[in-house]
Every structure is written in structure tokens, then in C-alpha cells.
Amino acid sequence: MIETSGRHTPAAGGTQPLLELRDLDTDIALRRGTVHALDGVSLQVMPGETLGVVGESGSGKTMTALSIMGLLPPGGRVSGGQILFEGRDLRSLPADEVRRIRGVRMGMVFQDPLTSLNPTMRIGVQVGEPLRVHERVGRAEARERTIEILRRVGMPRPDRIVDNYPHELSGGMRQRVAIAMALVCSPRLLIADEPTTALDVTTQRQILELIDDLREEFGMAVILVTHDLGVIAGRADRVAVMYAGRVVETAATGELFRSPRHRYTQALMEALPESAIRESGEHARLYSIPGLPPDLSRPLTGCRFAPRCRHVTDECRTTDVTLTAGEHQHACLHPVPAEPAAPVGLPTPARVEPAPDPAGAPAGPAEPAAEPVLSVRNLVKNYAAHGRGLLRRTAGQVSAVADVSFDVGPGETFGLVGESGCGKSTVGRLAVGLEQPSAGQIMLDGTDIAGLAGRERRRMHRQVQLMFQDSYAAMNPRMRVDAILAEPLEIQKVGGTAERRARIATLLDQVGLSRRVLERYPHEFSGGQLQRIGLARSLALQPRLIVGDEPVSALDVSIQAQVLNLMRDLQRELGLAYVFISHDLSVVDYMADRIGVMYLGKLVEVGPARDVVRAARHPYTQALIDAVPSVTPNPAAARDGATIRGELPSALNPPAGCRFRTRCPLAQDICATEPPLAGDAHQVACHFPLRPESAAAAAPAGAIA
């Protein structure tokens, strides 16, 4: 294995791989049968290198990590192949020896920091436990070394944190604790399984940088498992792409993103929202991979991607395709032609239909003259805060939404972005009338909904509908799909039985589902199908506005593309307006005509999507943009931008004046007074905007790093 483009080229030639998987098979026995989660997975990790393992849910990336660690879920077992760690096969070693290796030579960081720590054990005890168990270190020394490792993972006041419990820390801090725990015995290999997926982008960036720094410091190898191509592109030396339990392609990171060979890798990259924007400048239609990944409990022959592949031939379905030899390995019979000297950037998206989107642009903000469908004026929402613990007395107010105003025109998509806790979902819930604002107005078609009651209020609800992130949780599991779709019609007393049935049939056609789904229950559907049903339900009453709260955040990239395309198609056909709420800037950038950026209950910037993303005026917006990992592998740039540090302040008694000033690199004394949202089309609430408004259109050079 000769490394050419990695940042930390391991010594070529004689170096032994630290970890080598040979033809690893993993089965998981479930009640309904055995799932062959991994089938012949072979991988190598060299000392000191970062291997990215990327794939969608069910691809086997996590099962690979768990197989190495010997932490497979109940019913899971490695049924074939070898796991060679430092030259020894873990499968043939005695259990006690493997456990010691797992504790001392390897470390693992899991996805969800909120549930990955023992809630009733002090931080110090948890972090220091491997020392006590494996190195037989005394209590005092373990504590000392624990404080030291907590300091090295960037924990403020580690000597106090050791005595805290996990619930007293934020998500980002808990992930630091988890990393400290994995590193306390100075392992040779760190396996990070979606270490930042549950975190906000600004925190994600801090954690990824921390892992990078520690890798150099400890001289260890890292396996970074993620679904996010952007995370991989910025951090890994080499990448292995997994699909349906197999490695389908592996190459040096730069090489892979420059010139993917496997048709699945290619399709995956084209399905990213940012690829569609970058290529044309316009919002091209996303390439969406049709269908679903195969069921791994059935015997499979041929290329597993064949049923969803654009380049499939009969041969693909019958021949078992193995990885090619060499530096850049792929398992594809009809690979993308290699492009040795292609310019840095995304693969040529030859498949992306450049068809301009007639809905987005013309119906958008270009005609502000049209009366807005939704008009939000000085919206405020406060919640009474209760102290935690036994004492549940009122401890002040949480300012969830503070003086937010914006308009959404007919047929327009208004994107609302921000990190968790910024109030974007609350705005959505207020807009559809699920909650009452503390102050301010919400007007639909010029009518203040606060003044409505009874029948008028019910009629108003027809105009605006909500679409949820987790459609499964938002559906009654005991109702069939026909009842779920009919319910809004019944509540609003629309038509008779026959009319409703016809309406439901139309809805299914619109969202691309067959009539057969009507007799099924929510648990029988995949995530993408559920989002379609959720969309159909919100369309049932022919609303003019749909508020989508993270509607694609739980979906894999290929499925996400299907749903995003569907939402845009329906917008064009039905003239819908969307309020599209998401933490994912690239998705909002793709979907929205205009974007509002929220921070701690405040709208800090509003403007045309292109300007906000490519010429941000608020320092927070810029920091958010910088923190988003891009699939353009450019680690140097990714590390340079002025990042924001620290944590989101509490919305309980937020900072006075500009709420971002406590973390802002540009903050001055004047920031203690509140900046108004100023500007014409591209407004910003900042005393020191990064750019004047006019520069936005003229200088697209200030695009994402």
C-alpha cells in the first residue's frame, strides 16, 4: 500500500498494516432470518493513517467497526475471514487477550454522546476505568491521568469536570469525554463511528479537528466511519466506499473524489445537493438513485448495486464482481472512465439533467409585489423555565424566538437554517398554529391568525401544513395509510367517501406511491417512503404553504435526493410555498429561494439564497458556512477559516444586544446594543457586517472556501 496523496504518508514499502481485514463475513441472526451484514470485506489501515469508511445506512460500515471491536449486537457474529491487528488474528486469540487489546490498543467513539456515557457514573470514574482495569493503576494516579487526558481533549476546567455527571455537560463536551475515554490508554487505533453526526456543524468541526490533532499527537491510526462524504473528504487519507455489506471502491481521498470509478460512488456524489448547485449555478435537478438497497437476508448474486444502476447490463446481475487490484480498487464491470488529470472538483455530472427549474426562479422573490402567503411580524416566543433537579421552581424565561420577521411569497421556498436550539423549529410550529406566540403577528394571506377562532381557524389550517423529520413518529402506528391520508379530509369535512378516495388516489400519484400502500401500516415503509406519505398527508387539503421541519434530515443521500426532487416537482405543479427548516446548509441552499439564518432565537441574516451562502454578511453565517464540510477535498482551506469557538450560550437569559457577540471574533463594545436587521434584499443584523450588500452580487468570489 503506497500512499501518494495523504497528508501523513506512512513509510512506504516494508511497513506492516496496523489492521487488516481479510474477507470478513459478519452475520446477524434475527427472528426473521439471518442478515449477512458483511460479505467478504477486506480493508487495510496503515499506522498513523486515517481511513474513511463511507456508506449509507445498511451498507455495513458500522458493522465493520463493531466486528473489529468485537461489539456486535446480540445475534451478531463474525462468521468468516480474519481480523489481523498488529499481525495477530483477533478471531484466533483467547477472549481475555482480545478484551485487553480492545481496551488498551484500540479505542472507539460512538455516534450519540448523549447516550454513550453511563448516566450514573462520574466522568472521572468512567474515563479512568480502563487505566484501573488494564493498567492496574491506583485511584489517585488514575484520577490525575484522567484530568490530564481531559485537558488534552480540550475540556475546560478538567479538574472539576471529573466529578461531574454526564447530564451536566453539553453534547459536544460529552463527545470530548467519550474521546478522552477512548484515548486514555494511548491506543494505536481509534475507531470513530459517526462521531459528529449528532452534533451541530460548528461543534462537529471542533471535534473533527480534535481527532485530527490527537492522531498526530498520539501517532495513532483512525478509522472514520460516516455517511457524510464531506466529513470524509476533509479528514481521511484513504476512503473505502461500502454498499450492501461490501467494499465497492477504495482509493486515496483526493483520487476518489476527483475520479470515482464505481458507478455507485459516482451516483452518490451526484445525489449531493451541493453538486447540483455548483455545476450550473442554477438549481439543477438532483440525480436520485432509484429504488432501495437490497435486503441482505436474501441470497444475492452479481453486483449488489445492479438493480439501481444506470449502467447495468445482464452481466452485472450474474457475475460476482470483485475488487480490482492496485492503488485505486473498485468492483465495477462498467466503471467510470479514469480521468488522470482532471481538475479538482466534482466528477462531471453528465447525468444531471440541466433542465432549468421553472418553479424556483420565476415564482420566487423576484416578484415581491405579490402578497405574501405567510407574513411573520416581530414574532416572540418565551417559555417559562423550570430549574432542573428536584427543585422545579420557575427560574426565568427561555427566549426561544425573539423578534423574528419575514415574508414568504406564493410559490417561494424560504429556508430557515441554524443550529439546534436556535428556535427554527419553534418558528415553524408557531407558523402552523401549533403553539401560540408570546407576542407578534403571524399573517396568512393577510389575515392575522391570532384573531381567528372556530370555523375560520380550522379553515386557516387548510392553508398551511406541517411536514415532520420523523414521519414515522408523526403517524399513528395503528392507522393504515388510507386512514392516515383521509384524516385531514375528515377533520375538515371535505367531500364524501368517494371524493375522498379519489383525492387520496391523486395524492399517491403526486408523491409517486402505488395504490397498494393504502392497506399497509407505517412500520412497513422505509424512511423515504414515509416522507412521501407525510408529504401526501400535508398535501391532502391543498395547502398553499408547507412548513417542512428537517424533512430530509433522517434520510440517506440517495433517498434525500428523491424527496427533494419530489418537493420541487410538487412546488412547480401546485404553486406551493415552503418554509424549509434545516440544520443542513447545503440542503437549504439547494432548496431555498431565500434563506433566513437564526442564532439563539434571533434572525441574524435574511437574503436571497445565493447571496447568503456565497456572500454571507453576518459573521455567524460565515462561520456556519466555513464549518460545513465540503466534498471538495481541501483540508488546508477547511482549517484556516476563522472558526467560532465555544458553545451556544443558554437561551435562558441570553446575552443582551447582539446574541452572537459572546462568540464573535469581531465583537466590540457597541455589540452590547442590539443591531437592527438592516438592508434591502439581503438584510443583516450586525454592527460590523462582513460585506456591504451591493457587493453580494458583484463578488461571488467570496464563495465557500
Binding site: R99, F110, S116, T120, M121, V133, L390
Partner: protein, 319 residues
């Protein structure tokens, strides 16, 4: 913490007051009133009137309730004409003995139920789990009088190693002086409790063993024993703590069936005989005592919870 205690005690007080109101109302809603209930069918109208006047039952209800509460506060729960002793006296004779039996069986139940539940969780869906589950369900489904009878038949008839009757001593010391007599009632009482508690422990442990933090613990290379004992057990015992709080009233009320079966002179038997003889002062006195025990038990459970679960504990001032 003090503030919380005061709040909770205030809530408890409200419940207790409501209980006394209800108890008072029941006493006065009896057909023929307390006089008829106390003096029996043969009493003449004059006797009834005299009784009512003596007891103040001819005064307005509000006044009567005031008197009732006054007596209650003085620790006077009334007088049992059937036993010819005050209710307080009757209870204080039997309560300590009942507590001995209840405590013994509870301790036995906990000591056995926790390991059984843990074993079931660790070996879930394998034969130890199935075996214990089957036995638990059997114990749970068996009527307790049947269980007690089987015990007596087996261990004092077929294989006569233990006496069929509980100790008849008058004081706690006398009861404890006859440990052999306590064995069968204690075990009979414990068996059902073991069945219930081990189910709770099992399900809480199974839930916890599937938690992510357990996977994290395993990733540290800990032995399975350490994972279970150091990481999971504490969290798996929370439901038992809630159950223990609810167990406090049982400690006071005793076990009606078992006490009758083994002829143990405890609270259960007192209550049972009072019910048969329509001895209302006893019934109400016991009810009030048990109600107070229930309220206090809930409070104790909450406090125990706070003691073991840091998430419930009061936030320290610093963070």
C-alpha cells in the same frame, strides 16, 4: 433540598387530610350510623340515642369532624367495643409483629430477586431465563392461600420439619424467640414478592444492557462481570426503589391471607377479624394509618431515587 422536602410534606399533608375526611364520611354513611354498627341489632332506640349523644354524633357534621380530627391529633383513633380496648392499643400490640414478618420476607425477597433478575437479563432468552421466568409466573399465578397450604402440607405434614403455625408470642421478642415458626409464613410471603421483583429487575436490566453506554463500557475492554455489576446494576435497580416505596404500606398493613393462614397475630389478622365483626373503629384506624404510610412511602421512594440517580439530584450551584 429543604424547600423540596417542605413542598412534598405539604402535599403529603393534603392527602392525609383528604383521607381523614373520607374515613370520617364512611363512618357516618353507615346504615343506621355508628351507633347501630357498634351496639348491634338488639339495641333499643333509647340506647342508640344515648350512645349518639355520648359520642357527640347528634351534633352537626362539621363539629363532629372537628372533634374527630382533634382526637386524631391526640393519637386517639377511637375505641373498639368488640375488643374492649382502644384502637391505638390494638394496633400497637400487633404492628411490631407484622413489621417483623414483613421486613423478613422483604429482605429475603430482595436478596433473592435481584440476583435472579440479573441472571435472567444476562442469560436472556436462554434456558436460565426461561426456567426462572416459568417459575416466577407460576408463583405469581398461584393464589397465596394455596401456596401457604402447600407449604404447610409439605414442610409440616409430609416432611415435618417446621411448625404449621406462626409464633404466638405477645411481644416482638417472644415472636423472635421462635424462629422456626417464622420460616413458613416468611417464605410464603416472599415467594410472590420474589416473582414480582425479579421480573422488574430483569426487564430493567435488559433495557439497560441494550443501552449505548453499555456498549461503550464493553469497548473499554471490561469483563462482562464488570460491565454488569459496575455499570448496569445500579441503573437496573431504580424500579426496585420505586417498588420499595410502595412496599411501606404493606409493611404496616401486614399480609391478610398469610397471617390468617398461619394464625399470626398481626395487623392483617386484626383487620380481617375487624371486618368480620364489623368493628368499624379498628377498620378506620388501620385505614388511616395505612394511608399515612402510603404517602410517606411515596415520599421515601422519591428521596431514595434522588440519592441514587444523579440526574434527579439537585443541580450543584457551579454548573
Amino acid at each position: 433540598m429543604v424547600r423540596y422536602l417542605i413542598t412534598r410534606l405539604g402535599q403529603a399533608l393534603v392527602v392525609v387530610v383528604l383521607v381523614t375526611v373520607i374515613a370520617f364520611l364512611i363512618l357516618h354513611l353507615l346504615p343506621g350510623g355508628a351507633a347501630r354498627a357498634t351496639l348491634g341489632k338488639e339495641a333499643t332506640l333509647e340506647q342508640l340515642a344515648a350512645f349518639n349523644h355520648d359520642m357527640g354524633y347528634d351534633r352537626p357534621w362539621i363539629q363532629q369532624y372537628g372533634m374527630y380530627v382533634q382526637r386524631l391529633l391526640r393519637g386517639d383513633l377511637g375505641y373498639s367495643y368488640q375488643l374492649n380496648q382502644s384502637v391505638v392499643e390494638a394496633i400497637s400490640q400487633r404492628l411490631p409483629k407484622t413489621m417483623v414478618l414483613s421486613l423478613l420476607s422483604t429482605v429475603l425477597a430482595i436478596v433473592l430477586a435481584i440476583p435472579l433478575g440479573v441472571i435472567q437479563a444476562v442469560r436472556r432468552n436462554r434456558w436460565p431465563d426461561y426456567a426462572i421466568t416459568s417459575l416466577s409466573l407460576l408463583a405469581y399465578a398461584t393464589p397465596i392461600f394455596f401456596m401457604g397450604l402447600m407449604m404447610i402440607i409439605l414442610f409440616s405434614q409430609v416432611w415435618p420439619i417446621l411448625p404449621p403455625e406462626a409464633p404466638q408470642g405477645f411481644t416482638v421478642a417472644e415472636v423472635l424467640a421462635d424462629p422456626a415458626g417464622l420460616v413458613l409464613p416468611t417464605i410464603t410471603l416472599a415467594i410472590v414478592t420474589i416473582a414480582v421483583y425479579s421480573r422488574y429487575v430483569r426487564s430493567a436490566m435488559v433495557d439497560n444492557l441494550n443501552e449505548n453506554y453499555v456498549r461503550t463500557a464493553r469497548s473499554k475492554g471490561l469483563s462482562e462481570r464488570r460491565v454488569v455489576l459496575r455499570h448496569t446494576l445500579r441503573n437496573g435497580l431504580f424500579p426496585v426503589i420505586a417498588l420499595l416505596g410502595m412496599y411501606l404500606p404493606a409493611l404496616f398493613s401486614g399480609a391478610l391471607v398469610v397471617e390468617s393462614l398461619f394464625n399470626f397475630p398481626g395487623m392483617g389478622q386484626l383487620f380481617w377479624q375487624a371486618a368480620l365483626k364489623r368493628d368499624f373503629p379498628i377498620l378506620l384506624g388501620v385505614t388511616v394509618i395505612i394511608s399515612i404510610a402510603t404517602v410517606v412511602g411515596a415520599l421515601v421512594a422519591d428521596l431514595l431515587y434522588a440519592a441514587v440517580d444523579p440526574r434527579v439530584r439537585l443541580q450543584r450551584s457551579a454548573s
